[in-house]
């Protein structure tokens, strides 16, 4: 791997890692809130935060760039801008996983907790938090993976400067169309390794308490 290849891998991890940190709290909060609310405001917010899932990422990037300019935040052309852009595109995946996990919680648990005098915060800490763990982790891994692969939004917001904003996909794009051809295989290999590690990691993190096989087949038999 050449110097530029390494710097692309390092930068990708930096960008995706920062995006994970930047978007963790908003995604958590929005996921939990959207699961428990059905008001008109919630519906509108839901549409807004889910929009990047279906919008072309170039459009999402373009809108983010306009926003940064409008608020005079000169974060464009920096890796922070790349993290903001790729995270915005990936955020719906995380929010949705958390929301689904929260919605799957049996409401009777809360009824019981309330009857025992648990405060809202205590309910959240002892019921919601442990039970959405899988949604949080699974969604987080999806989020991370999605940010690693983001091209369009990063390109628009951060440009394509090696060592500064050139993440793996941008470096591959650049090599694929280079005036002087060079091998793209090191970066393709790096992407493959990263994705395999990510999937392995998510499987590991998501592995809940081990259930015995006989028990599982028992459920099937009685169904």
């Amino acid at each position: 791997m050449g110097f530029d290849d390494w710097s692309a891998v390092r930068l990708s991890l930096l960008v995706s890692g920062s995006a994970l940190l930047l978007y963790a709290l908003p995604s958590y909060w929005l996921g939990v809130w959207l699961a428990g609310t059905t008001g008109r405001v919630a519906k509108l917010v839901n549409i807004l935060v889910m929009a990047p899932l279906v919008l072309p990422p170039v459009v999402t990037g373009f809108l983010l760039l306009r926003l940064l300019v409008a608020f005079n935040l000169p974060l464009y052309f920096s890796w922070i801008g790349a993290a903001l852009a790729s995270g915005l595109v990936a955020m719906p995946l995380w929010i949705r996983s958390i929301r689904i996990a929260v919605e799957a919680i049996d409401p009777r648990l809360y009824v019981v907790a309330r009857s025992l005098g648990a405060t809202r915060w205590r309910q959240h800490r002892t019921i919601t938090m442990p039970l959405l763990r899988r949604g949080l982790i699974g969604g987080g891994v999806l989020f991370f993976g999605r940010t690693l692969g983001e091209f369009g939004a990063v390109m628009v917001v951060a440009g394509n400067t090696p060592g500064k904003t050139q993440t793996i996909p941008l470096a591959i794009f650049s090599k694929l169309n280079a005036i002087e051809p060079s091998s793209i295989w090191p970066l393709v290999g790096a992407s493959l390794i990263l994705s395999v590690v990510l999937i392995w990691l998510s499987e590991r993190l998501l592995r809940g308490p081990k259930r015995k096989k006989s028990q599982a087949s028992h459920y099937v038999a009685t169904e």
């Binding site: 390109m155 628009v156 394509n160 400067t161 941008l170 650049s174 694929l176």
Partner: protein, 263 residues
């Protein structure tokens, strides 16, 4: 039970109908293809090639389909087998490589030249002295020199006057020529080095400060390469000749290029 439901139509009948539908399609293809050309053209030339294509259609009745993109992407698509009759490239390296790869090396004509200019956004143009602005200015936008011809030319030109090294840390790369010009027009950077044609395309949103001369052994040259797929050779060459003709020269000039009209 009604026999006319779709499920009741026997499969062989459906297959036969499909075959009937496909076979004449194959036979007619050559005829249909005769009236249509696919042109892949460098992003910076899309507008002008579209205009010239419309003129060509008006004169010959042949429909010209124009697909624009970074020259490198287009060259990559063509060498991967994309159907393309005429390719207009912003850098001779791509046409050279394609000619080496293809068994049919096609006809190559130089169409137009372009120029690099130092630019700034109209609303930042309070001080139009490049010298002063280079001293104080922040970011400078240049297209990525690894894959965008505009950036490669800009790097070569800046290196030739020993500007590249001192300015290097302030330079941000746009992904392609047009996007780089867009950064300038939006005022996201203080200065930019872009094609004169792109500066022209953005009208009064971009102010040209100075031209940036290319090293004496280099020119920014747009080349057209006609392959002609599926028996399209003749009209592909016709269109290429039309792009280079004196009747198209005015269109090139209006878009900010210098036409290299053959006659």
């Amino acid at each position: 039970m009604p026999t006319s439901t779709p499920a009741a139509i026997p499969t062989p009948f459906i297959l036969f109908t499909l075959v009937l539908a496909i076979v004449p399609g194959c036979q007619n293809r050559e005829q249909a293809v005769q009236r249509e050309l696919t042109v892949f053209t460098a992003a910076s030339t899309v507008d002008v090639v579209e205009v010239i294509g419309r003129d060509f259609t008006a004169q010959t009745g042949i429909v010209v389909r124009v697909a624009g993109g970074p020259s490198g992407v287009l060259a990559h698509q063509i060498s991967s087998g994309a159907r393309c009759d005429v390719f207009v490239s912003a850098h001779p390296r791509y046409t050279e490589r394609l000619q080496q790869e293809k068994s049919n090396s096609g006809t190559l004509i130089s169409l137009a030249s372009n120029e690099l200019v130092w630019v700034t956004a109209a609303d930042r143009a309070t001080d139009t002295s490049l010298e002063n602005r280079l001293g104080i200015a922040g970011r400078i936008a240049v297209a990525n020199p690894d894959h965008a011809p505009a950036g490669r030319y800009a790097r070569d030109a800046l290196q030739a006057v020993n500007y590249w090294e001192p300015l290097k840390d302030r330079i941000v790369y746009g992904n392609d020529a047009r996007l780089t010009a867009q950064y300038v027009a939006d005022g996201l950077v203080d200065l930019g080095v872009i094609y004169r044609s792109d500066a022209t395309a953005f009208g009064d949103r971009i102010v040209i400060l100075e031209a940036l001369a290319m090293p004496s052994d280099q020119t920014i040259r747009y080349q057209g390469l006609a392959f002609g797929c599926d028996g399209n050779d003749a009209i592909a060459e016709d269109f290429l000749a039309y792009l280079a003709s004196s009747s198209s020269a005015e269109q090139w000039r209006r878009a900010g290029f210098r036409p290299l009209a053959a006659h």
